[in-house]
Subunit: 198 residues, 2 copies
C-alpha cells in the first residue's frame, strides 16, 4: 500500500516525490544521525569554550617586570602596552561569552534534531564568531612574531630576549585561540551537514 | 487523488510526511527562490574576486624608495621586508584563485538549484577561505597599525612618517581584504539559507 502510494506520486511529480519517499522511509535513521551530530556539536562547543577562555585568561594575566630598574623607569611588559593584545583579550572574551550563551541552543538542538531554524541561527552566529576569533588570533600572532624576531628593515628590535615569560604566555594564548578557530570550522561544517536535506 | 495520497502517508508517519507533502506542493516556488539565491551568490562571488585580486595586487606593487641615500644603504620599503605582508599576498592570491575556481560551481548551482551537495561543498570551502582571508587581513592590519602609530613600550617607531606612499598602499590593501571578508560572510549566510529545508 505504501510503496504503491509513492509510485503514484512519482508519476505526478517525478523529482520531488522521490525525495518525499526517501524522507518517509529513512526518517527514524535520519533523526538518530542528526541527534548524533547535535551531540558532537555540543561537545565541540564545550571544547571551544575551554580554548577561548584559556586564551583570554592567559593573555589577561600576562605581565612581567624585569628584576632591574632605573630611578625613573621600571621595565615592565603587559598586554596593556599593545593595542593588538587588548583587542585579542576583548575579542576572545566576547567569543567565550557567545559560546556560553550558545550552549542552551545546542542542547535544544539535541532534543529537537529537526529544528532547522535553530541550526541556521547557530551557523550564522558561529560564522561571525569565527571571523572575530580568527582576526584576534592572526593579529596577535603577527605581533608575537615581531616580538620574537624583530624586523631589521623598519628597525624594530625583538623584545623577547628581555621579556621571556611574557612572550611565552602570549604565544600560548595565540595557540589556544587558533585551537578555538579550528573547533569553530568543525562546528560550521557539522551545522551545514545537519542543515542539508535528506 | 493526490491529496488523498498525502493523507494516507500522514497517518502512517506524521512528522515527515507533512514535509513530503509541502515539498510536492511548493516545489516550483521554492525552486525560483533558490535560483534567486544562487544568482546573488554568483554576483557576490564576482565582487569577492575583485576585492581579493585588488588586495593582492595593491600589496604586491607596494614599494617605495626614499629620494635620499647614503653610500652603503638606500632607504626602501617593500612588502618583501615584512613576513606578515608576504603572508598577506600569498593568502589573498590563494583566496582569489579559489574564488575563480568556484565560479563554475556557482553557475552549476544556478542551473540546478536543488543540488544540495554542491552548496554544502561551496559552504565548507567558503568557510576555509574566509578563515584564510580574515587571518591575512587581521595580521596585516596589526602591522599597519604599528607602522602608523609605533609602540613606545617596546620602542618600535612609526615608519609611516617616512614611507607615506607605502603605508597608504598597504592600508588600502587591508581595507580591500576586509571587504572580501564581509562578502564571504554573506556568501556563507546565503549558502546556509539555501541548504535549509523548506
Amino acid at each position: 500500500m505504501k510503496s504503491g502510494d509513492s509510485t503514484t506520486i512519482e508519476v505526478a511529480e517525478p523529482s520531488s516525490s522521490s525525495k518525499g519517499k526517501a524522507t518517509v522511509l529513512v526518517a527514524p535513521k535520519a533523526t538518530g544521525w542528526k541527534k548524533g551530530v547535535a551531540i558532537i556539536d555540543f561537545v565541540l562547543r564545550l571544547g571551544a569554550i575551554v580554548a577561548a577562555l584559556s586564551a583570554a585568561a592567559t593573555m589577561g594575566t600576562s605581565d612581567e617586570s624585569l628584576p632591574f630598574f632605573t630611578q625613573f623607569f621600571q621595565f615592565e611588559a603587559s598586554y596593556d602596552d599593545m593595542p593588538t593584545f587588548q583587542f585579542f583579550l576583548i575579542a576572545m572574551a566576547l567569543v567565550s561569552g557567545y559560546l556560553v550563551l550558545s550552549i542552551p541552543f545546542s542542547i535544544v538542538a539535541i532534543v529537537r534534531p529537526h529544528a532547522s531554524g535553530l541550526k541556521l541561527f547557530l551557523l550564522i552566529m558561529d560564522t561571525v564568531a569565527l571571523t572575530l576569533a580568527t582576526s584576534a588570533a592572526a593579529a596577535a600572532a603577527a605581533i608575537v612574531y615581531l616580538a620574537h624576531n624583530g624586523n631589521s628593515s623598519s628597525n624594530w628590535l625583538a623584545i623577547c630576549n628581555q621579556f621571556t615569560d611574557f612572550c611565552q604566555k602570549v604565544s600560548g594564548a595565540v595557540v589556544s585561540a587558533f585551537v578555538c578557530v579550528v573547533v569553530f570550522i568543525f562546528l560550521i561544517l557539522l551545522s551545514a551537514l545537519a542543515l542539508r536535506k535528506h
